[in-house]
Structures are given as structure tokens and as C-alpha cells.
Symmetry: C2
Subunit: 198 residues, 2 copies
DNA sequence: CTATCATCCTAACGATGTAAAGATACGGAG
DNA sequence: CTCCGTATCTTTACATCGTTAGGATGATAG
């Protein structure tokens, strides 16, 4: 009944099971969050038996690490595409950072510690990825800040963007429709600082 | 051989199973992180059968919610104890916030979204707790900032403290021994702002 | 055409959260 | 002091999960 091997999806030897699994994981991640990442559910969605997954990933945590890897490359790409020379000093980088987190909430949460079974090992594998992404942020600021202020300023920006991104992802700040405006005003405050006294 | 009912721990009717479970959960949380919160492991540590837990909590997520509740009351207590009228405007609040997170890393992560089985329901129960804690932060700033700047300034401070706390908890910033100095300089930057240009 | 190999499958193990249903001890009413 | 109801804890059981072991299938090289 079925044509011999025209469609690549339902062949016995799957077209590219690894990629299919990652794609399914990506959508599952955004549908139900990192805690719902399930090896069996992934196999089910791809139409494959659960143990087959182990021919492409050594564990569920390995899938999570691969996803985080994807996420960090996409994040750094987004940061590099941000207009470095715009008028605001760190606003573009901050906007790009938060935009990525808001576009991929589940993935972003996974990238920062959530959803790993073996936290000590899984997170450790992601540790280096985070540091590399951080280097990109620092590099973006290097041309615009004196060298001695750079470390603290970079940590400051990272903390602010990370915190705001997480709060918005968790819907803790009800920015409603004008989320962009909220982000803008917070980032502006970062550039100017709070009024010196009340 | 055992004295009839002197010690409260090994009676048939447990002394206070609910509290014992929460205490065990607290230490398990800091030992192995929120992902390792296990109902059966808790029952094991308290010396009780697993289904007994259901006489005190309706689910594992309910335990997590109770823990988060503890955490938020302790956090707000810490924030209220912070010297509001010190010379720095928001530094004391920021320090108290980050100090709590660093003292209870597992609990803090649990309070902000990690470790819930049913993310949609568990996190929703914690949502109100987070907002109440946020009100405390806002209240602490109300006396020292003009009313129109207050919402943005509070969100700014919360984002910064939240982000820095998480980065330090995840050991992403290797502050080493002088963590306090790092926190101080970042918070100082929050009060002053970045230099207007490079 | 055959043999090798990557790929996938079924079967099974231990551990988890949770649901019944039964046993035990505590505490108040007679 | 006795009895009984109720809260508390237990054993048993089920579905699901991540993972392992061993067998079958399809593609591919000689």
C-alpha cells in the first residue's frame, strides 16, 4: 500500500532522527516547559520507539544539552546582529537579549538551569556555553567602556537583562501589550541610573 | 524494650509529620536541588511510607508550594529587616535580597519556577506569593522616589537583584571569596548608572 | 547475491507519583 | 474504665518514566 520510500518521514531507517528529535523537543519545550521534556514523549511524537533515541543521544540530559547548545548559538547570533553603534549604549544588546528570551521562553529557561535531571552534570556541560555567550556581551561593550569599568558594567548588564527576561517570561511583570515600552524604560534607567537621592 | 511513647519521632502517630516532611524537603532541596525533590525520598528520610504523605499534602507540587511559601515569608522578613534609611538608596534592599538567595540557593530556585511538575498550576500558586514579595520591595522604595518613577525603578531593582542572584547561585560569576565586593560594585553601578558614553 | 553494519524494535528492570483499601493508635462519650 | 469513631499510617497495586539487553530489519559495499 505505501509507496516504497518516497517520503523520508516514515521509512524504517528514519530520514534524520536526530534532527527530528531535536525539532520535536523544541516544540515540546515551548508547549509545556522544560520540566515536561520526556524522552518517551519525544519518541512518540517522532513515531519511533523509545530506546531508538539512544542511538543518537546518550541520555535525556544529552538532548537537553544539545537544545541548550542550539539556544546559545541562536542567542549569540541575535546579540551579534544587534546594532552596536546605535545611540543608546547598551540598550540594543539588552533588547536583543530579552527579545530572544521572550521568543523562546522554554528554551531560555532550559539554558539557565531548569529541566536537567542530573543538575551537577547537565548544568556543568552548559556552563561553558553560558560563558561563551557572556564573552559576546563583553565584546560588544569593549569598544564603548573604559577597560577598568568593563567587568562590572558587563555583569551589571547581564544581570539586569537576565533578571528582566526571566520575570517577563514568568509573566511576573504584566507588561500587557506595551512590553517593549517597559523594556525600554528599564534599560534606559540602566543607562542613566537612578536619581542620586529621593 | 522501647519506652512507651517518650520520643515523639518513632511513635506510630508521628509527632508532626507535616513539619518533619517540610524540614526534610528543605535539606534535600539544598543538598540536591529542586529537580531532586522526591516524595518517596522524603518519606524515606522521615521514616514513613510514601502514601502517608498524602494525608498532609495533596501532591508533590503541594509540598513545593508550601516550601516556596516558607521561602517568600523568610525573604520578605529579610527585606524588612534591611536598613531602609542607609546612605545608599537601594543597596541595602538589594544586598538583603541577594543574601537570601545565596543562603538558600535551592529554595530560591524553587521559588522562581524550577522543580514544579505541573508548571501551569504549581507556578500559578506561587505567582501571588511573588507579587506579595514584590510589593515589599516597592514599599521600601516608596519613601525615597518620586511616584511617577517608582514602578520602573522598582522593576529595575528587582530585575537586577534577581538576575545577579541567579547568576551567582549558578556559579556563573566566579566571585570567589570577595562575592560581597562584586555585589557591592554592581549595586553601586545601579545607583549611579553607567557613564553616559564611552 | 551476500555479508556487514547502522538503525530500529520488543521485552524488561528499577524508580517515580499516586490511588485504593485495610490496619493501628489516639481521644472523647458513655 | 470501656468502647467507638476518627485521624493516621500501612501494604498493595498501577501507570509512567529513563534506561539496558538482545534480537530483527533495511541499506550498502564487495
Amino acid at each position: 500500500m505505501p509507496s516504497p520510500a518516497t517520503r523520508a518521514d516514515d521509512r524504517y531507517h528514519h530520514g534524520d532522527l536526530r534532527k527530528a528529535l531535536l525539532n520535536a523537543a523544541r516544540t515540546l519545550l515551548e508547549e509545556r516547559g522544560p520540566a515536561a521534556l520526556s524522552l518517551r514523549e519525544l519518541a512518540r511524537r517522532v513515531g519511533v520507539s523509545a530506546p531508538s533515541v539512544y542511538h543518537h543521544f546518550s541520555s535525556l540530559d544529552a538532548i537537553a544539552v544539545a537544545l541548550a547548545e542550539q539556544g546559545f548559538t541562536e542567542l549569540t547570533e541575535g546579540l551579534e546582529a544587534a546594532p552596536i553603534h546605535a545611540e543608546g549604549q547598551l540598550a540594543p544588546t539588552g533588547h536583543a537579549y530579552i527579545a530572544f528570551a521572550r521568543a523562546n521562553p522554554g528554551l531560555y529557561r532550559l539554558m539557565f538551569g531548569e529541566g536537567f535531571r542530573d543538575a551537577s552534570k547537565g548544568s556543568q556541560a552548559v556552563h561553558a556555553l553560558r560563558e561563551r555567550a557572556y564573552e559576546k556581551v563583553v565584546a560588544g561593550l569593549r569598544t564603548r567602556l573604559p577597560a577598568d569599568e568593563l567587568p562590572v558594567a558587563a555583569l551589571f548588564l547581564w544581570s539586569l537583562a537576565h533578571g528582566l527576561a526571566l520575570l517577563m517570561i514568568d509573566r511576573q511583570v504584566d507588561a500587557g501589550a506595551d512590553a517593549e515600552a517597559v523594556i525600554r524604560s528599564v534599560l534606559r534607567l540602566a543607562g542613566v541610573g537612578l536619581p542620586p537621592s529621593a
